[in-house]
Each structure stands twice: as C-alpha cells, then as structure tokens.
Symmetry: C2
Subunit: 145 residues, 2 copies
C-alpha cells in the first residue's frame, strides 16, 4: 500500500464541517480519556457542541468536570465503510475548551442549522467551545482536487 | 425527554461486538487525548486492534508510544443517524492496553473473520490488546429485551 500524504488543514476543515457526528475526548481525574459522541458545528476554526436536553440533575456531566480540570480536548470525525476501505478517512482537532452557558449567536445558529431536531428544540447549554489550534487528518486515498 | 437507564454490560458487549469501527483514545505526553478510528474484535472481554499495513518507517505510531507511557485507554463505538435521534446509542470500554507483536490465534481469527479485507491480508501487527475492566453505554431509547 502506498503512503498517502496527510490531509492539509483546509481539507480537514472541509471534511469536519460536513461530518454529522464526532467523538469528543476529555481527560478524567485518573489521567485517562473519556469519550462521548457529540453533535457540533464548526465556524471558522471554532467548534461548538452542546449538552443536550438532559434532566437537570444529570446536566452536570463528567465531560464538563473534566474540562474544568484539563481543558485540552480532542475531537475526531471519521468515515468508515465495510465496502470500500479506499474511502476511509478521519480528521482530528485539538484545542483548549471552555464551558459557557451562553455563546455568540452566530455559533449557536450554525449548530441549530446543522441538525433538524434543534430547529424545534435548540440546545439550552451549557456549551463547550473549542478554538482549534491543530488539525490533523488522513485519508486512505488522496483527496481529489 | 425522559431519562433512560444506562446500558448494562451485556448490552454494551453486544452492541460493541456488532459495531464496525471504534474510536481509540490514548493519552499523549502532554496529558491530552489522541484519537484514531480502529477496526477491532471483541472476544469475551478482550478487545484486539491491529496496526494495519503501513510502510515500515511509519509503523512506530504515536498510539503505541502513548500506550507505553500510559496504558489506560478507552474505546467508543456509537450509532448516529440524522433521521432518528431516538435510535442514537454509544458504548464505551475502558481498560489497560498492552502492545504485542503476537497474539493468541483465537483473537486474531476473530479480527480477520470480522473484516473481509483481512481475509487476503491479515494484519501483521503490532497489536493492541485491551482487557476491558469497565463498560458504559447509553441509548436514547431503552433497549428492547
């Protein structure tokens, strides 16, 4: 198998924008990783994800505690299919997260616009905001230009 | 939205076995998480994943360096669909990884049997073996029994 070049940052942004779900990794108190799938929007180089409508008692989620302790997070979006391993790809974003109860309207609008269920019930927060400081990515087949 | 009970360990194993791709999280030297999608097999409570056929020079992958430093890893498999958020679910496994150039035949057989491309080109390793010591999982709709 021939090596393929890594995806450049623009191609990473393009694929990450189009993907529908990503895995968010935060670091727990033991130094290990906690993982959870998230919906998200990318605006410029800022990722927004929200805690969905959970009962109040569980809204204090471990991912929020983790970020308070260690704000370095990573998100991964990938494409997998059994039928064509030449189509596999993944994109990873690293950044420093903040947790907020309010976010700029442009960010929230992008998130609501991306997912139909949010049109009726926009996420109320808290929100996790991640300015991306490093993109990396790989595709089994070099991107067509 | 009504709270749903978390998935029990048996249901986690069942869904994780059936899933086709997972995200592997390892911890890098800075204490942050590195993420990569992996193919894998689950046999009993042991996960096997392999480094695919990469050129020799890149076979020393960051995930292996990370595990040598911090063997606590996590894997996440999830189901996402835009069309039915009631069908969403995820399963997460935590365990302590070891890296090995050889693994028991029963483990490797399970991995090769799961993915058609491995029939012609079984992974040569190195392998990452993760005995799971904690399952957790969530489904938007309670599992049908």
């Amino acid at each position: 198998m021939e090596p393929v070049p890594p995806l450049d940052a623009d191609e990473c942004r393009r694929r990450f924008t189009a993907a529908r779900v990503a895995t968010l990794a935060t670091t727990n108190a033991d130094g290990g990783a906690d993982l959870v799938p998230v919906t998200y929007a990318l605006v410029g180089d800022v990722i927004l994800t929200a805690v969905d409508h959970k009962p109040k008692s569980t809204r204090r989620l471990r991912r929020l505690d983790n970020i308070a302790r260690q704000p370095a997070v990573a998100l991964l979006a990938d494409h997998y299919t059994d039928y064509d391993w030449a189509a596999l790809w993944w994109v990873r974003a690293h950044g420093t997260a903040t947790v907020s109860d309010e976010v700029p309207g442009s960010l929230l609008d992008a998130l609501v616009a991306k997912y139909a269920p949010y049109a009726d019930a926009p996420p109320a927060g808290p929100f996790i905001v991640v300015p991306v400081d490093r993109w990396s990515g790989w595709a089994a087949t070099a991107a067509r230009s």
